[in-house]
Amino acid sequence: MTASATLALSTKDLKKRYGSQVALDGLNLEVPTGIVYGFLGPNGAGKTTTMRLLTGLIRPDQGAIYLMGESFTGANRQLLYNVGALIESPSFYPHLSARDNLRVIGASGKAVTRSRVEEMLELVGLRDRARDKVANYSLGMRQRLGIAVALLNDPALLLLDEPANGLDPAGIVGLRDTLKNLAASGKTVFISSHILPEVQQMADIIGIVAAGRLVSQGPLDELLATQAIVRVKVTPAESAKALELLSALAGDGHVSITDAGGAWLTVRTAAERSTEVNRVLAQAGIFAAGLEAGSDLESLFLQLTQPTAPEQPAGPYAGWYAGAAR
């Protein structure tokens, strides 16, 4: 069974449980060839489970995975010869040098030449430290080495879990350029990340997963355009009246109170309508203490992964609690 040849990666109704815990509940991904795909989701949404399934570390309870158009069942593990992966924290033999780690790791799966090992050390900027034991490496250096491992096979599909984790600013810029260049050369890059601005700068397409399901997927620009918002801050005493006025402006169900104090209202409407929002409130004698307009990825992410605002405790941990609840 095959999937569309233009898709480097796709999943169909992918399900996975750990005991009674549902990790994935019918995930349908479609990742075209030659792009950078940002895979986003809150903690526990199923991102790492997806990565493990895509690399055959665990098996799905139900559903199908297609890699480069071919059904991946685990029995045809050779499909992974064309996949490079960095899953969770990079793993190495701490007593070996970076060079020896790449050589030992390169002995598994698709054969890797010594010159390719040197090429990768050069690419990730570890050539000068290639003889040092990995046990003495910093988090960022380990991450660089992890990226070198992922690229070792010159894969057509790259699966990276939080690739910028621990990298310094220069490393992040270098990573971004490398991944964009790889996509430009026809390879496909699938990035799972929490660093939303980073993904926003790199990704052509994003998929947002929440509670094991894909809640949104598509070209970044289109998603941001459809999810544009205007946020306005009023006093808590005026929030009910403001909600009524803005609902009349934007339509029922397009306005919500998005913080526990009731002071911030989110209006789902084009950013250009922010002046209109301000004018409607001002005409009713409600003067905005704050006004934000935009279509940033963070707002989109929060809207899609937090359907209802949870009750929050007061105090310094209120914000953290909200994040944890998501």
Binding site: G56, R77, L80, Y93, H95, R103, I105, A107
Partner: protein, 272 residues
């Protein structure tokens, strides 16, 4: 073969490998030198149990070959069990198995190749321990003031054959540790279990009914398979099973335990 060589590269530079070998070698050296020194200090003292016959068997040719093999195997087997359990468990805890699988490597091949690498490391370690043991026994004999004895061709040939059997037996025993660690996916679980089994193996021999069953289990068959010569007139080193039968049973256990390790790796969900 590439995986086996890569396995040797990753194991032979590991501190645990060098420390394990050093500990085993030191124990063997101490054993023979102390016996030689104790005998010299008090020859035929009934309180230390070192009669001239015993010391001659331990420290002079041809008896010392069996004595060295027996003591080398005795110390080496416990250290090898712990070492293999740690090495196998670290593939899970370090996440290096995860990388190999994600690169499309066969889990079964990886598990078997890793064990093959460990087996070759154990073989090298055993050979080093044996040679150091021979040298230590000779030194112990000189300290004790005993003549070296004679080492003829057939004795040397027999020694090499027994060394090969000892290696197979050691690998058979190590497969217990390997299987436990691969099933448990953990260094600590593997080490704890094999130490427990090792201690239990010495206790159960006190109970006759269990001893009859136990003689077919790896801890017993592996030592019987070497075919250690026993000291004349004593039960020291005496086997429960015929060496050839024990060797066949040991190899059967080895194959079975490796199959279990491979199947466990094949079916495992790899996380972390």
């Amino acid at each position: 073969m590439t995986l086996v060589l890569a396995g040797i590269r990753k194991f032979n530079t590991r501190t645990a490998t060098l420390v394990s070998l050093l500990v085993a070698v030191v124990l063997v050296v101490i054993e023979f030198v102390v016996v030689g020194a104790a005998y010299r200090a008090a020859p035929n003292d009934p309180n230390n149990g070192l009669t001239k016959d015993t010391v001659t068997w331990l420290l002079t040719f041809p008896g010392l070959i069996d004595a060295v093999l027996s003591i080398t195997f005795g110390f080496g087997s416990l250290i090898a069990l712990i070492y293999v359990a740690v090495a196998a468990g670290s593939e899970w805890t370090w996440g290096t198995l995860k990388i190999a699988v994600a690169r499309g490597e066969s889990r079964r091949n990886y598990a078997l190749a890793t064990f093959a690498s460990l087996s070759l490391i154990l073989g090298a370690g055993l050979a080093i321990m044996f040679l150091v043991g021979i040298a230590s026994a000779v030194a112990g004999g000189l300290i004790a003031g005993l003549p070296m004895g004679t080492l003829d061709g057939p004795t040397l040939g027999g020694a090499l054959a027994k060394l090969v059997r000892a290696w197979i037996a050691l690998v058979g025993l190590a497969s217990v540790a390997y299987a436990v660690s691969m099933i448990a996916k953990s260094q600590m679980a593997g080490v704890g279990t094999v130490i427990g089994l090792f201690i239990a193996s010495t206790i159960v021999t006190l109970i006759p009914v269990i001893r009859e069953i136990f003689k077919y289990l790896p801890f017993s068959t592996s030592s019987d398979a070497v075919g250690f010569g026993s000291q004349p007139g004593t039960s020291l080193g005496a086997a429960s099973l015929d060496p050839n039968v024990a060797l066949v049973v040991t190899i059967a256990w080895l194959i079975g335990l490796l199959a279990i390790a491979a199947i466990a790796t094949e079916r495992a969900e790899i996380k972390g």
